[in-house]
Amino acid sequence: MSALLEVDNLQISARNDDDELTPIVKGVSFNVQPGEVVALIGESGSGKTTIALSSLGYTKPGLEFVGGEVRLHGEDVISMQNDRLRGLRGQRVAYLAQSAAATFNPALTIGEQVTESTVLHGLMSQEEANRRAEDLYRALELPDPDRLGKRYPHQVSGGQLQRLMAATALCGKPDLLVLDEPTTALDVTTQIEVLKSFKSVIQQEGASAIYVTHDLSVVAQIADHIVVLYAGEIQEYGTADQVVTQPSHEYTRRLMYAVRPPPAAGQGDETSDEHQRKAPALEVKNLLAGYGRTQNGAPEITVLRDVNVAIERGHSVGVIGESGCGKSTLARVMAGLLPAAQGEVLLDGAALQPALQQRSRNELQKIQFVFQMADTALNPRQRIDKILGRPVEFYHGLKGEEKRRRVGELLQMVELPQEFAGRYPEELSGGQKQRINLARALAASPEVLLCDEVISALDSIVGANVIELLKRLRKQTGVSFVFISHDLSTVASFADQIVVLYAGRVVEQGPTNAVLSPPYHPYTRLLISSVPELRVGWLEETMETQEAQAGIDRVVTLTDKGCPFFDRCPRAMKGTCDEETPPVRNVTGSHSIECHLSEAEFAQ
């Protein structure tokens, strides 16, 4: 059988302002057979999206085809005329962009958008297309397929929207599907549901697909062949099983190393207990916080409820939960950006003012906040030496030569060359900016560092390097960390204490080992089982478990009565869990679980 798509010695270059050509894709060749999923994997800048888009005969502005051919059914798409390309795109090759939320038009119904291109290309009448869309909703296991088409995009969840994108692409029965990082922006629990339905619908439809991602463990679940790219060149090309189990190229091994192992007991960084007896570095007690106007001690929308967390000196506490669980809100309350409505924040055992305006400079210096997006957290109009020099001057009063030396030290601490002091943030890469972001917080010589999703926006290899850096800095400086992430394996590899937040409540907390080994809170179990493992066939196994069937792809809802996890819990007891606030059960020492299930029931 001949290949559906043949990419043959493809070369794409970027033309800059001075009319010079810089090669972006340097002679890439691979095939996609009918009914096969080929994954393109690599970091940002490796050219994976550029290659994927070339199958549509398209390049981003500023790029141009320099050589090679991309043949669909033996016909070159690069040299195709515009009107023929229009017939190709959306009909024979369909593209799925990364963010469904940004792709759907909020003013049109879902049905109109799913069927639009099919009807526009004259492939089907509106009625046929509507029927076809309904079949696809069923195949993608979307709720209420009969009426889903009449709803608007904001009425469905993010994971559902992502699957609806697949329906849009598949509606016209294309030969080839191009998926560009379709699950990267999703929570783990949502991701597995989306992956599963993508996989099953691709099998049902017999479609071929190019799957672009930077996440090797996602690829292992869905791809037949894997193409590993680095700097526009193929490093390794083989079947999924072969690449995952016996990577032959060094770069693939590097990528595998960057995939953090699935969370398991016994991998958290242990630190000595010598400081245990002193007051914790930072502690929050009976916290209640939220947004909107506060009346009678309760804000309009309560996000955090009854939160008690202590960060021991020199320890790192990981805060984990899906989006909407209140992780960032907790960090903002600690930093004083969002004053708590009730409860208190203690630094070294002494209560802090809730709002940062009332805290002293000395107190501010001890708690530093590292923002999630280094792109927006660094002032684009300040040079690096000014960004790092300001906290040094502000808190420690260093000036002139002393200040310059300290900035040099800080750059060295985050493993950046000294010349970077003279650069502007826009002249740095994403990982380098994140390092500067960290260095700015360290410049204050803090006692507690609040890291809010610091590696979520980074590529896997870059992120792994930043984690290594954080580990080293912790040993070097003895700073306590609050490490917020939605990625359990990242937290597990870094923190020695884990706090699991769900809908603003701490459902489980304790030492990393204890949290990651039974007994689990049902939510913790769901999170652990949702982290993709780097082996073929993991997805199918996971979807069999009862946690997954009950809890995946649901929206976090805030409640003020009963256990918030009630509607997603496979072991929920009606009449108890939805009515009464669950008790805090101390399992061992500092390990506690907030659940109605008794210890004996956990053991089952």
């Binding site: 302002d17 190393y257 004083g336 940062l356 530093q368 923002f371 997006m373 300001r390 502000f394 002249e427």
Partner: protein, 313 residues
């Protein structure tokens, strides 16, 4: 998997791929370069105009100058004369040299416009930043007053003020123009300020404990300077046209001082006589405003900070 996890050896030779874009620089297009040349030309004229001009702006030229040698006409017309060796650009409606009046007028027109625009920026940006960093009530108060000012047609407003002050002179002209244009600058400065105010780096400065003054001068102003500079160029053009229209109506610069706008107005009857006199100052206005616009186009295409800072100060 586990042996890989334990393999903390960092000897992998693959570096992080750089994704930093090359440093952006301001690239001037051809129209931009021509624009800069023309603006530079007029700036030089502002300084040396009166020294190089052949006559004084108020000089009514003597009839003797226009006597053609060998001709027996002893009393030639001096008004609306075509360009010649005596008057390079021709003469105006009472026989003054147009070139001299344009050279003198550059100083009046450009000077008044620059001062009025700067004044508008001083008032508008100060109030706009105050509204964006201040309390909700301050913002509300300033914005509503501003809305009221904006709802009055600017030329009518100026006419009323000038009439009330009984044609008070250049100082008041600058003050009134600056005040009227401050209203539209306020809106832009406020919305730009609000945008930067909620950014992560301002939040980072707040967490650090920085004061309001630092946040305004170091975090907000440098980041809104570029769009403000772009707007400054456009606003300057509007002010030139505004001053010119006031002069055209007879309420701006008073004779015998020359000003491009009033020159268009006073020479208008010349059009029916086939004279170029009203077109010359009109070309001067057009060349300056179009040039500034061409520079602004290039500026807004690029986003470098340095030139913007120079333009704002």
């Amino acid at each position: 998997m586990s042996d890989q996890a334990n393999n903390t050896d960092q000897s992998f030779s693959f570096d992080e791929l750089p994704d930093a874009p090359p440093k952006r620089k301001i690239k001037l297009s051809w129209p931009g370069k021509i624009g800069i040349a023309i603006v530079l030309f007029w700036s030089v004229i502002v300084v040396i105009g009166p020294t190089i001009s052949p006559y004084h702006e108020a000089d009514i030229l003597d009839e003797d100058l226009f006597i053609v040698p060998g001709s027996d006409e002893m009393y030639p017309d001096t008004e609306f004369q075509p360009p010649s060796k005596i008057v390079y650009l021709g003469s105006d409606y009472i026989g003054r040299d147009l070139l001299s009046r344009i050279l003198y007028g550059a100083r009046t027109t450009i000077g008044i416009s620059v001062l009025a625009t700067l004044l508008a920026y001083l008032i508008g940006v100060t109030a706009g930043i105050a509204a964006s960093v201040g309390s909700r009530y301050l913002d509300m108060g300033l914005s509503r007053v501003n809305d009221a000012l904006l709802s009055i047609p600017s030329i009518m407003f100026a006419l009323v003020l000038i009439a009330a002050l009984n044609s008070p002179g250049i100082f008041w002209l600058i003050l009134i123009t600056g005040f009227i244009y401050a209203a539209s600058v306020f809106r832009i400065a406020r919305s730009l300020g609000q945008e930067v105010m909620v950014s992560d780096f301002v939040e980072a400065a707040k967490v650090r404990g920085e004061g309001l003054w630092w946040i305004i001068t170091r975090e907000i102003l440098p980041n809104i300077a570029m769009p403000l500079a772009t707007d400054f160029g456009l606003r300057f053009v509007w002010v030139i046209l505004f001053i010119s229209s006031l002069s055209f109506l007879g309420l701006g610069v008073q004779p015998p001082m020359s000003d491009w706008g009033s020159m268009v107005k006073e020479n208008l009857p010349g059009l029916v006589l086939g004279s170029y006199a009203p077109l010359m100052p009109a070309f001067a206005i057009a060349s300056l405003t179009i040039s500034v616009n061409m520079i602004v186009d290039d500026l807004s295409a690029a986003t470098g900070g340095k030139l913007a800072k120079r333009m704002i100060s």
